[in-house]
Symmetry: C2
Subunit: 482 residues, 2 copies
């Protein structure tokens, strides 16, 4: 299929201009004011003409960190810090691959309807059914037509070792210590990833496998090194959580005798294909390492607030030249997959951290971080992330006649600083139209709603046994009254 | 008209229950599981039965601080601190009462569609057309049917005196000093307010006038005292901005030789009818004064972030027993009027300020602050703010089949921590249905969109002369490099 989007507003330096844009197969074929009628251009037959009047055309954003299956628990976990929240999460995790399929669909739909064309799914695996979990998510992303980076969340150390011991407790940080919990061995994890790459990694079709140890808190050096090797072998992106909480920073000191970031650098895990979620507790020396290695920070402002993790030093990252992308994080810690919300809060939050307002993030800069910053974090800035002839056609057309974007002022200011509602008119991924007139073209969203409704029940927050068992130790660690 | 809402979910302690609720004229007449068929209840004739299945019923929220006419500049003002942002705002303020009418309509519609049934409009007045401005806003609120507290924003000192002098500059803080700017005298302001009360104050019809000096930065002691007297005479609510920025705290020290809060207490401005927007820069002693006087803090988390004002110490207010309400603030500093967004961010933001997670705001507490806290701040907790027989019927019914609220988990958790989209199904204010099936019943929203569209134009951020003239002084004050 070929498309011509006519008379759409696009950002120009300090202003806007009106252009036509032509999509041919999977790529942006032409952009310009008043392109000649499509059918007169050599070997370009335009199947569909889209009216771009009163609409803003932008490159698609990247939802650069999420966990799709958390959708099943959104709205449910009470206000708790990450370590206790995780206990609740894992005690009630979905165990049916069909649920994984449905929550991946839901995650993709919300991402697409908030301007995202790419999702990085740090996918929580069902124990014992790991390959099926990956297959279910891949199936969903293929059907809905979003560009997907599927990053199976792996670890080779048991959950209980994720908290610092402060020298007093029993847990050790050696791989797969004597915990009752079943943990895969390092080799078994790497085998799983090799199989998944063989079976599903298909960049041309928009499905990419990513190596993604959950983070320093539950992964051995050998796992990070094995993942880095696999990444080099297949050109895969690398992902991980990094220093989301103060407890993780204390843990790194205990495990490595120093900075987690310096340790990951020593392990060879940091390069231009690495994206690191959160990065809340880095110091200035850590920030230099990120800048020097070319790694990307994925900012998840809403989960950082909801879990009380802290405010990531985003203005410092920008000043140091570190690339930044935005993520929604999983729906149990946000509890939404609306990228425009993450972009808004991820921009304005940092104005409280520096009186020098000339450092603050402008709406245009935020949009560039969400699109090109996201693409750069996936080592794909040559393929997506901007309105450039020859790049893949990952595009979003916003309806500027939505009440939430009126009266007319600065379209990008309204989009980023407002709360756009029903503003996404059309979306293309890899040249395929997946949203038209604000509705998904690829899947039946009413059926998805029906399935989500029928497989769930209204409830009040529950009591997790694992959380209760951890709470004393956590409170002691954080110096909270017992 | 009388309504029966049948089989709706409502919160019960630690859980939910299913009830029927009857509205008779302007009040909640009955609530209970399986009420007898309406027409058998003595002298209750139910005109309309509403199916409450798969819906959540809550009391309406209060949008406890906004400035409706800022709608004309939303999305437009670049990231700037309050003092410079204000210069941009006033340089391009709307000057036509018809614009005031339209932006009040827009503010009301967005408030209603995000769960609000009451709006407190700290209304910026068109110079020389003050009475017309008030009339235009009142007309809009009557037509749309929202409960309105119209609070004309008044001052009796010129704009340039709103910054501290640090002993070096020329400005003095005496009333109406030798500025080229036209400022009304204290008496003229009070006359204006007296006239407005006479003409528009009509609590039974849902239109309330409020005394609302803009804040200590631009108002004399005589104006605060005059407003307090007028408030006592007519039982009016009192409103003001309070210590939104660090610059205002420095100014208070300069003007009063001490705390702005202690000064307002001395002037007799603080009581249970007083609500104070922002309260970012209060210290512990100030907080005690608020608790002791019964004044309400209106938290505007989004504008506090956007303007870099800081994070209000909300958890401290709760611990001190200070009543809290939520506001969107004006659309040029947010840039939306979505109360659910203000409630979400106003809850989770504070988790980063205290590691003791047992102090964090739960979704149920947030809902209570938004409804009953808002009502309390308007001295109206006996009339609105909860689902109580005998109170005014200010009610919102949320559709729990919205994709954004699925899968089913904890309905209030989803509403507060998620990003509800098209979730408001029906709204009643004073027993009058103003939203049905997600659409306004009282005004034509398509026509409003058309008017907002036609009276505006896409543009990029402008250059305000007033901002440029102030910038040097502001940067000097804040210790920023010149």
């Amino acid at each position: 299929m070929s498309y011509s989007i006519q008379t759409a507003l696009v950002p120009a330096p300090q202003s806007y201009e009106t252009v036509d844009l032509q999509i041919r197969q999977d790529k942006i074929a032409a952009i310009g004011a008043h392109l000649p009628p499509a059918d007169t251009v050599a070997d370009t037959i335009i199947d569909t003409v889209i009216d771009g009047r009163d609409k803003l055309l932008l490159p698609g954003f990247v939802n650069a960190h999420t966990h799709s299956s958390e959708l099943w628990q959104r709205g449910l976990i009470p206000p708790l810090p990450l370590e206790l929240w995780l206990a609740e999460l894992y005690d009630f995790a979905p165990l049916d691959p069909e649920q994984i399929y449905l929550s991946a669909l839901g995650t993709a739909v919300e991402t697409l309807l908030s301007g995202g064309t790419t999702v990085v799914d740090h996918l929580v695996l069902i124990p014992g059914r790991e390959a099926e979990t990956i297959a279910a998510a891949v199936r969903a992303y293929r059907e809905v037509g979003i560009r997907a980076y599927v990053a199976p969340l792996v670890q080779d150390q048991p959950f209980g070792t994720g908290l610092p011991t402060l020298g007093t407790a029993q847990a050790s940080h050696s791989p797969a210590s004597a915990s009752p919990e079943q943990v895969m061995s390092t080799e078994a994890v790497l085998d799983l990833l090799r199989d998944a790459v063989r079976q599903f990694h298909d960049p041309v079709a928009g499905i990419n496998l990513v190596v993604a140890p959950t983070g320093i808190q539950l992964c051995s050096d050998a796992l990070f090194e094995g993942c880095a090797a696999l990444s080099d072998q297949h050109g895969l992106c690398r992902h991980a959580h990094l220093l989301e909480t103060k407890a993780q920073k204390i843990l790194a000191q205990e495990k490595y005798g120093g900075s987690a970031v310096a340790h990951l650098k020593r392990l060879g895990y940091l390069n231009q294909r690495s994206s690191l979620a959160h990065c809340v507790w880095l110091d200035d020396y850590d920030i230099e390492i990120l800048a020097e290695t070319g790694a990307t920070v994925v900012h998840n402002p809403l989960s950082n607030l909801r879990l009380g993790s802290g405010i990531a030093p985003l203005l410092k990252y920008r000043q140091a030249g570190v690339n930044i992308a935005f993520g929604c994080d999983g729906s149990a810690s946000n509890d939404s997959q609306d990228l425009l919300e993450a972009i808004k809060i991820g921009s304005i939050l940092h104005n409280t951290t520096d009186f020098e307002y000339r450092h603050w993030i402008t709406p245009r800069e935020a949009v560039e971080m969400a699109a090109l910053g996201g693409a750069t974090g996936l080592n794909a800035a040559d393929q997506i992330g901007s309105l450039t002839v020859g790049k893949q056609a990952d595009l979003v057309l916003y309806d500027l006649r939505s009440l939430s974007l009126l009266p007319r002022t600065d379209p990008i200011g309204l989009l980023v600083l407002g709360r756009p509602t029903q503003a996404v008119h059309s979306v293309w991924v890899n040249g395929r139209q997946v949203v038209a007139q604000g509705e998904l073209c690829t899947i039946d969203v009413n059926q998805l709603r029906q399935e989500l409704f029928e497989r769930s029940a209204w409830q009040s927050p529950r009591q997790s046994a694992m959380r209760q068992s951890m709470e004393f130790r956590y409170r002691e660690l954080m110096g909270l009254a017992i």
